[in-house]
Structures are given as C-alpha cells and as structure tokens.
C-alpha cells in the first residue's frame, strides 16, 4: 500500500525532505511497525525515529503505535510541539 510520510521541524531537517510516498506492505500495518521500517531504512536516523517522545499523526489526528494504517493514509512524524 501507499503511505504519505511527512516530517516536521528538526526531524524534517534530519531526514532532508518534507514528505515522501512510501510503498510498504506488512502483515500488521501499524504505526509502530512503520516507524521500525523507516528506522531500518534510514539507520542514521534510527535513534531519532525510535525516540519515545516523537509524535505521530495519522490523517492529522494524533495516533498511537497500535493504530492500524490503510492504503492512502498520511502519516506525520514530528518532535514534541513547542508553540506558544
């Protein structure tokens, strides 16, 4: 399936781009497994992608590691927010 992955702030700078369309298939397509997949693909970013404080939004709503993904979803990964 196709997942659009978006990165923000420090993570965007580290990854080097704002977004990508990922073709990814998994027997258990969860947010947690997607993060592991990305970390394995980008070893230099493994630590930051596995960071417990990293936030995930699926289709612009906060999501947990167990959230199941479907074809066409947008997954945003970003550091803790620091607005205000």
């Amino acid at each position: 399936m196709k997942i659009t992955v978006r990165y923000f702030a420090l993570l965007r700078e580290r990854v080097g781009h704002e977004s990508e369309v990922l073709v990814w298939d998994d027997t258990e397509p969860t947010v947690g497994r997607l993060r592991s997949h990305l970390a394995a693909r980008l070893p230099a970013l493994g630590a930051i992608l596995c960071e417990g404080t990293l936030l995930v939004a699926v289709n612009r709503e906060y999501a947990a590691a167990a959230t199941v993904l479907k074809d066409g979803d947008e997954v945003a990964l970003f550091p803790p927010v620091t607005g205000g």
Binding site: R6, F8, A9, L10, E13, L55, A57, R60, Y62, A76, F78, P79, P80, V81, T82, G83, G84
Partner: protein
C-alpha cells in the same frame, strides 16, 4: 467591523489585539470580563541571546487543533467566546506570537479558561520554534 478571520487560526501577519478584544466583547452583552493573553518573543532564552525565532506549523492540523482547543475551553469553563491566534514564520524579539482572548460572565472562568488554553496549546498544537542566536539556530525540545 473589518473581517478578522476565523476565531481559531494561524497567520503569518501580525494580529491586532485591540481589534480582537473588541470583537470578542461584541459577541454578547452577558460578558462580564475578558482575559487577554499575548505571548511575545523574548531576546533571551535558556541562557542565550535570541535574535529571531522561526515558527513552523503543520498546515491544516494546527488550525484544526486550535479549533478543537477553542471548543473544549468554551465547554469546560462555560466561556461565552474565545479567540486564539498563533503566528507562523520568522519573528523578532518584541513581536507578538500568540493571542488568546477568553470571555466569560465572571472573571474566574475567564482567567482559568485562558490559562488552560495556553497550557494545552503548548502541549497539543503542532507548532515548533527554532531559535536563532549569535551562536547559531536550535530547535527547542521543551516548552517552558
């Protein structure tokens, strides 16, 4: 009155705090008090001088979260109205960052609703700041 835009919004341009206050007051004659919070860029943060701050936001999600925050604050504190505006882009010391105007029948709800709203905004709304100082730029990792 001129159009001021959505009551929960992100914008690049400066906001007019006096105009926002007038608009909130105009919502209802039952309003007995408005608490106005304006967050401002400081020239010093975490032990270093700050020359500017870049605010990055997640377009779409940031506005949605501000709207949900506004609805939740009104519901939770029985507010009559609330306006929340956050700026994006590059700001300098002295520039306004965020405005919250909480209107209620009595002051207690207005103070509490306004304080809750800025605390929740800092916890939930996808906006990040990168502080530029004489010794380089850093993304903040916590929100004091």
């Amino acid at each position: 009155m001129e159009a001021l835009g959505e009551k929960a919004r992100v914008q690049r341009e400066p906001f007019d705090a006096a105009a926002e206050l007038i608009r909130v007051k105009a919502t209802s004659r039952r309003i007995g008090g408005v608490v106005l919070f304006v967050g401002i860029v400081r020239d010093f943060s975490q032990g270093r001088g700050v020359t500017k701050i870049l605010f990055e936001h997640f377009p779409g999600m940031a506005e949605t979260k501000l709207g949900e925050l506004r609805d939740a604050a009104i519901e939770r504190f029985g507010l009559i109205d609330l306006v929340v505006v956050h700026r994006c882009g590059e700001l300098e010391p002295g520039d306004d960052i965020v405005l919250i105007a909480a209107a209620a029948e009595h002051r207690a709800a207005a103070f509490e609703g306004c304080a809750w709203c800025i605390d929740e905004l800092k916890r939930l709304v996808p906006i990040w700041k990168r502080e530029q100082g004489a010794d380089g730029a850093i993304w903040l990792e916590e929100h004091p």
